[in-house]
Symmetry: C2
């Protein structure tokens, strides 16, 4: 067994270049040559690790979802559930350059999902995972008394996430201020914390 290289590491490097390009030029901008150049590797390498362009794009989608989940888990580790919920929701709004890239890429894959069932499946999983996480945080927060009972946790989580994505999309396009979006989301969470619904 010759030439022991870390395949996953190589793939991550290449996928990182894909994200950069997608955020700048959309998925149509993803070409084998362009990705290779952006990653600073040869086209042969890209081909070696991703036999096909579609596979490259799909892997980029998978890794971005996994990365976002991992990042969120790490960031909120020491925070109380309500704050972790807030963090989860804030992720959908392009504030920092990192989030902006993430939201742009996220949006691109959303559009791509209309003609790629695999992407659609990945996003569906991501959506469900997000709602599950959000609902769990709601339950946790209620157990601590930080959030009043009421609305179904999953429905509440879904509502907050959908709202956040709607605001986030507008911020990305430029028709809404990021600060205004965050403020609106915070109001929504605080209101859920202050008064029971339904």
């Amino acid at each position: 067994m010759p030439r022991d290289v870390d395949h996953d590491q190589r793939r991550r490097e290449i996928v990182g270049a894909v994200w950069t390009i997608v955020a700048r030029q959309g998925i149509e901008g993803v070409t084998l040559r362009g990705v290779a150049a952006e990653a600073g590797v040869s086209m042969g390498r890209v081909q070696h690790y991703f036999g096909t362009r579609d596979e490259l794009v799909r892997h980029a989608c998978r890794l971005m979802v996994e990365g976002a989940q991992a990042e969120h888990a790490a960031q909120g580790q020491a925070l109380p559930p309500v704050e972790r919920l807030r963090l989860l929701v804030h992720r959908a709004v392009p504030t920092t350059p990192g989030f902006t890239l993430g939201v742009a890429v996220w949006t691109a894959f959303h559009a791509k999902s209309v003609d790629d069932p695999e992407i659609s499946a990945i996003l569906t999983d991501a959506h469900r995972g997000g709602v599950r996480e959000g609902a769990a945080l709601v339950v946790e927060a209620r157990a601590r008394g930080d959030l009043p009972d009421g609305e179904d946790p999953a429905a509440l989580a879904l509502r907050l996430l959908a709202l956040a994505e709607g605001y986030g999309a507008r911020v990305l396009v430029g028709s809404l201020d990021a600060a205004a979006a965050l403020a609106a989301l915070d109001r929504e969470i605080d209101r859920a914390a202050a008064a029971p619904r339904d």
Copy 2:
């Protein structure tokens, strides 16, 4: 002045083909040849009316926004303001084939806006127009006593629209049921009608 043809009509025919293709294969799927074939015209015609591919795509974006606005205005003509508001937010959810196409195309242009400032400008206008329309309906409904006072009309309209787009995106991807999305939106409107906020 020879050969009197209706330019706008010709453009609409071609743009219709663009929408169809975008909904099926995304904006990357838009090629001059493909559009010509879908519209049942020659490639020369497409080139004649839209000098460049970019112009074609942008015009398709403009016409879709205008068409949506006109359609909404026509549909709700005889309805009370609250119902017109309901219609406005329901538009973002892919229920009928027509709305599904619309939401798919809308999503595609949203993604495209990251690298095309003109598209971004068109969408920004559309966003603002939507909020203005929604806010006006809120004001109108309040004047009739159908909606209680409270939240700023524009903020309420923005919240409803963002929420609708968030739900709509999930329905498009397939992670959410259209009926569930509509129900959630109706609950939101009814709640705004039942209890003042903030």
